[in-house]
Amino acid sequence: MTNHLTWETLNDLVDGVLSAEAKAAAEAHAEACATCATALAELRATVSDARALPDRVSPPDELWTDIRATIEASKVAHLPPGTSPGAATRGWWVTPRQLAAAAVVLMVATASLTGVVMNSRSSSTMAARPQAVTVAWQTSEKAFQENVLQLRQQLEMLHDHLSPGTLVKVERALATIDLAIAEGREALLRDPANAALSELLASNYRQKIELLRRVTQLTSS
């Protein structure tokens, strides 16, 4: 028999996307043509095997430990209601050069954003639960400072492996973040229920931890 079913037709037949008429014609051909019947059976078997693959594959044992470490590093900023936990995901910076460049961008962005949010405080957010937020942030800052201290100690040990230029830029970025944190903290104390300020302060905390974490990772690798 000539004019075998095309590969596209065989696939569309298996996927059930042919019109009723085309489907009937294809099936009639396959019944009469051993070549197409074999091709159709093999294609169906392949699709069937794929659908039967196990839907779970065991991940590496250490994966949860890595995820937990990232979460714990970001958890310090998880306090104000409605604020998401850390945005500290991998792949933020890749090389020391990119790290230094990103640090410069960070300096500008952090300072600018703090100014914008501090100037746009809404009087409608001034009322609710100032005490609860303050207590929450106190708890948060303690955990944050412990994280920073650990990372600072690690970075200190790797100090000699960083180029002077990168080190200067990183320290400058850290100083800018610290300034933004101080300003944001002061503003939050004056306006504890301001969700935008809370989010910004949380973001600054995360940036500092992530910056330290990236520098230590890159330097030690």
Partner: protein, 186 residues
């Protein structure tokens, strides 16, 4: 007994999600234990690379942690995680493709062609062979094949997620099946 232990004991996913959303990492670990295999499976099959699959699984769970407050329970947690993981992989591979805009075949494309025409394996019906064949597919064909034939997505849904025409999805799927069948000597 802690809240998270109690939630785990009662097999209450909703309770674990609620606890995790309030910052309970132990509760989140239990959610991870339930869904990590499913998430890692789709990541490793879509990338064909265990190391990248590990990174994307990591990212998916960190993002899930960040977004737990948005999980409303309309879908099962595992389904939500699965879709989140697919998004992570597609976003990352989209970025890779833009960076690696190319005119020549990538290594995995070459490998697929070589494997397709080169060696007639004997024990080709095993699941491991199929997994290897999937891993050896060109990236785009692999994504389409995994989403359609393994995960059960429809053509239109894949086209939407991959920002492709439905006709391109079909073409990639047909190509993937053809390469796999050749690799499996069918």
């Amino acid at each position: 007994m802690t809240d998270s232990q109690a939630a785990s004991a009662t097999d209450d996913v909703a309770a674990l999600v609620a606890l995790a959303a309030r910052g309970d990492v132990n509760a989140f670990e239990r959610l991870y234990a339930r869904s990590a295999g499913r998430v890692y499976a789709v990541c490793v099959r879509m990338t064909g690379d265990p190391q990248r699959a590990k990174e994307y699984t990591h990212d998916a769970f960190v993002r899930a942690w960040e977004r737990l407050s948005t999980f409303r329970g309309e879908a099962a947690f595992e389904t939500w995680m699965h879709r989140l993981a697919v998004n992570v992989v597609l976003t990352a591979t989209r970025g890779d493709r833009r960076r690696e805009a190319r005119l020549v075949p990538t290594p995995d494309e070459k490998m697929a062609e070589t494997a397709a025409f080169g060696r007639p394996d004997r024990d080709v019906e095993t699941r491991i062979d199929l997994e290897r064949a999937i891993a050896a597919l060109p990236a785009r064909a692999r994504e389409v094949f995994v989403l359609h034939d393994v995960e059960g997505y429809r053509h239109e849904e894949i086209a939407d997620r991959l920002e492709l025409q439905a006709s391109s999805v079909r073409a990639q799927l047909h190509r993937a099946r053809q390469l796999i069948m050749r690799m499996l000597n069918r």
